[in-house]
């Protein structure tokens, strides 16, 4: 029972204030219990890892405590919550309207500059009651959502940077329903935003203005899995971690893995061509997706759901949709090639004294570990500190000294002793050669998970440390860290600059942490970061996509000389979505993508 002592308000409260407090508390409790216990509330709860049933306490701004892992052996088959699921943090945002401002450590100030310049396109209609009735007829009452709390969660992205003002959330349960919705929206010229797990980092999954949100989370069936060909066919709303668990039972794994796996959905992964931690081993989704089913803006269902490993009949259209961020069509089903689950996984956590050693280590690893290398990540000193300070359950594998760079290497193979020998030989050789100053090798799965916990927990920890500006860049390996150092010099003491990422894929995640969002600091960062990347012929978005954040910045990676490329992209968009209703204001520059 909440008493007035627990509110951060002066004890002498007026009656009115007390009623307000009570109302706020009541709303919080009912909001909380609905979101935790009622699977129908949260579009993603139903399939998210069952963290809530294991003694989890609802703490504002804090993650759930790591559940005692050994109790799991005593017959309970409850999954352990190790990372808070993204929808949990989303629900937190839903309660920001209440007076508990001080307890939230997550910054969710509306991220100014990019969006204020955009105007709502007047050709899009606004929703009226006829539209709502029509949707109710197609989907049924339950799946047409206008409730403020749920809309609030769906309108805000994971970072808390972008907030739309949509008044309608739709949850179709089949491709047919998606087709009907889109056909209607196209005829009425209603803008829509396809939404999956809402874990994107560039504002691509939330509305900018009042676009209708189409959440695919209810389409979460696994349609079939063929063990012989190792092809999985499932609907686009399946959560990645659920697919990984399902395949685990069959002896296979998903070809991609990312920190957001507890909440992200495969449709979203494909629409953004997600990269992740294992790209260095299994390649990108363009290679692993064998087919997909997508619905175009006018409701046409494109059935490209082949399950053939090789099919050279005509143009391979599915590649257009992979990475198009929902702007060409809504992905509703996917068929994906799954690699076999190999028994021998080894993880090593190493320390290097400088960036040059990290690079040389990468080359050596590719050569010496070769076919068994499955992940190569690097973390710099500042990111590591942030994780140790803010991530619950994080433990420094290499105490007591702090090193300049840390590298996480994972190998996956079929023969335990052979792999271990190979890895040990490589590590000892690197140590003797001075490339590695210290390191630890995980001796069991628990230790391996704790190393990954550190790497996967970096984005979350940075969020807890304050406001963050995130950049995801592809830069040649030799030059990668130069950008981080230049940014440090440029920003001085006003911000903390952190660099980490998929060194194996030349992908840097540059994060700049400040106590609050500050336009002055932003001006120092952009467009310098983009220009720098452009100068070194890198990509301003390696894997996160353009979304809203970089919609007008494509020219940094597709320069003026290749402007015709961007024109061609705009033509394709016009061809597949003439009214421009799918995810407007994003991906391509506004000047080109508008349909007028």
């Amino acid at each position: 029972m909440l008493t007035s002592r627990q509110f951060p308000i002066n004890f002498r409260t007026t009656d009115k204030m007390r009623t307000e407090m009570w109302r706020a508390a009541h709303r919080l409790i009912s909001h909380r219990s609905k979101n935790l216990c009622d699977p129908r509330w949260n579009p993603n709860f139903h399939n998210a890892i069952h963290s809530y049933s294991s003694g989890f306490t609802y703490n504002f701004g804090r993650t759930c405590k790591p559940f005692n892992p050994y109790l799991r052996r005593q017959g309970s088959d409850v999954q352990i919550c190790i990372y808070p699921t993204r929808d949990y943090i989303e629900n937190l945002h839903g309660s920001t309207e209440l007076c508990y401002g001080k307890s939230f450590r997550i910054q969710n100030r509306f991220y100014g500059s990019a969006t204020t310049k955009i105007q709502r396109n007047p050709i899009f209609s606004t929703i009226n009651s006829d539209d709502i009735n029509h949707f109710r007829e197609i989907l049924g009452e339950k799946n047409v959502i206008q409730d403020e709390d749920r809309l609030s969660a769906a309108n805000m992205d994971w970072l808390g940077k972008y907030k739309g003002s949509s008044k309608l959330l739709l949850q179709p349960r089949s491709t047919k329903e998606v087709s009907q919705i889109l056909k209607y929206c196209n005829s009425r010229c209603l803008a829509v935003v396809p939404q999956g797990g809402n874990t994107g980092l560039v504002g691509g999954s939330v509305p900018v203005f009042d676009e209708v949100i189409i959440n695919i989370g209810s389409m979460n069936n696994i349609i079939s899995f063929d063990k012989v060909s190792s092809i999985l066919v499932c609907e686009a709303g399946c959560i990645l971690e659920n697919l990984i668990s399902f395949l685990d039972n069959q002896g296979f794994i998903m070809p991609l893995d990312l920190g957001a796996k507890g909440s992200c959905q495969i449709g979203g992964n494909i629409s953004t061509n997600a990269g992740g931690l294992r790209l260095v081993r299994y390649g990108s989704l363009h290679g692993n997706v064998l087919g997909l089913e997508a619905v175009l803006a006018n409701g046409t269902v494109l059935d490209m759901l082949g399950t053939l490993r090789k099919d050279n009949t005509g143009y391979d259209l599915k590649h257009l949709f992979i990475g198009s961020e929902g702007s060409l069509g809504v992905v509703t089903k996917v068929s994906i090639l799954t690699p076999p689950k190999l028994s021998s996984v080894n993880v090593a956590f190493l320390a290097c004294k400088d960036y040059l050693s990290c690079q040389k280590l990468l080359l050596e690893a590719k050569r010496k570990l070769g076919e068994i290398l499955s992940a190569f990540e690097f973390i710099d000193n500042q990111s590591f500190n942030v994780v140790l300070n803010h991530l619950e359950g994080a433990r420094n594998p290499l105490p007591p000294s702090m090193h300049n760079f840390y590298v996480l290497i994972e190998t996956t193979g079929s023969d335990e002793s052979y792999d271990k020998e190979k890895l040990e030989a490589f590590l000892l050789h690197s140590m003797e050669g001075g490339l590695v100053s210290d390191g630890v090798l995980a001796q069991d799965i628990n230790q391996a998970s704790s190393f990954w916990h550190i790497r996967e927990g970096i984005p979350e920890s940075i969020m807890k440390a304050g406001a963050v500006y995130k950049y995801d860049l592809s830069i040649p390996v030799e030059k990668m860290y130069d950008l981080v150092e230049e940014m440090r010099v440029r920003l001085g003491h006003s911000a903390k600059v952190m660099g980490y990422g998929h060194l194996g894929d030349s992908n840097l995640h540059l994060n700049i942490s400040t106590p609050q969002y500050d336009d002055a600091i932003l001006a120092q960062i952009e467009p310098f970061v983009y220009e720098w990347t452009s100068k070194h012929h890198g990509s301003i978005s390696a894997e996160h996509g353009m979304g809203l954040m970089k919609a007008n910045k494509i020219h940094y990676s597709k320069s003026a000389e290749t402007a015709s490329l961007v024109q061609l992209m705009a033509s394709i968009k016009k061809l597949l979505d003439p009214n421009g209703i799918l995810n407007p204001y994003k991906v391509l520059p506004g000047s080109l993508a508008s349909s007028s």
Partner: protein, 251 residues
């Protein structure tokens, strides 16, 4: 003073266990094996005692098939000084292991014998107690804190029991079995892995130790627990009463 730590090679605790199709046991081929977590804690405690200067040597011991050597190497990489492997390919039950450990303790004469409280594959929680009985040594099981006093030759052990914590004072030599909250085991660092390669693993067989490992127990069948049935949503109170009466037979 020497400390002997018994460690067991078990299926890694994070692996999903499957029962073999012939129900004779658990699937262990092609499954990741590693050191029993409680044994890891025991070894960590031994290493800490050694580092505080109260012991001169830590010996890791394991009983089982030839692959146990991998687990012993991990123990050596954590910091144990030497290891002993008793090679036995048959499945061994706690009493046989206790007899073998007694034989080794008679040879090595350690001041402290540390084991994990139970193995995560059989959950027996018997070996430590049995070996203490065979050796006639005092035992402190489920230890959550161990403090050694060299001059008085005693170990003060705080035990986690159902009612709370119990503190015992044991004369050395003694047997201690470790519980979860005793410590957090260290990782195996690369320099230590390098050093471990040159450390000695001595081999014994049960015959050499004059121990009869024939067991009085035989596993007849291993089955999975029944799957949890899905919950049913009832539409009315009458239906609920009907189900409670006729299906569940509780009213």
């Amino acid at each position: 003073m020497k400390i002997m730590v018994a460690i067991k090679r078990v299926v890694d605790y994070a692996v999903k266990i499957r029962v073999k199709s012939d129900k004779s046991g658990v699937e262990t081929s092609n499954v990741k094996m590693s050191m029993n977590p409680f044994c890891e804690i025991g070894l960590e405690e031994a290493l800490r005692i050694k580092e505080s200067g109260l012991a001169s040597e830590v010996i890791a011991v394991s009983v089982g098939p030839s692959q146990c050597v991998d687990t012993l190497r991990t123990g050596l990489a954590m910091g144990a000084d030497r290891a002993i492997h008793v090679e036995a390919s048959a499945t061994l039950y706690p009493l046989s292991v206790a007899k073998l450990l007694k034989a080794l303790a008679d040879v090595e004469k350690p001041g402290l014998l540390i084991l994990g409280k139970q193995a995560i594959d059989d959950d027996c929680n018997q070996t430590g107690q049995m070996v203490a009985g065979l050796l006639n040594w005092p035992q402190g099981t489920f230890a959550s804190k161990v403090v050694l006093d060299k001059e008085k030759e005693v170990a003060t052990v705080e035990r986690e029991v159902d009612g709370g914590l119990e503190t015992l004072c044991l004369d050395l030599p003694a047997v201690i079995t470790t519980d979860l909250r005793l410590n957090q085991p260290r990782y195996a660092t690369l320099p230590n892995i390098m050093k471990a390669k040159s450390k000695v693993i001595k081999k014994f067989t049960p015959q050499e130790l004059n121990v009869d490992i024939k067991s009085d127990l035989e596993v007849i069948q291993v089955t999975e627990p029944p799957k949890r049935k899905a919950g049913v949503i009832v539409s009315s109170v009458d239906e609920l009463i009907d189900k409670l009466k006729n299906e569940a037979h509780v009213i």
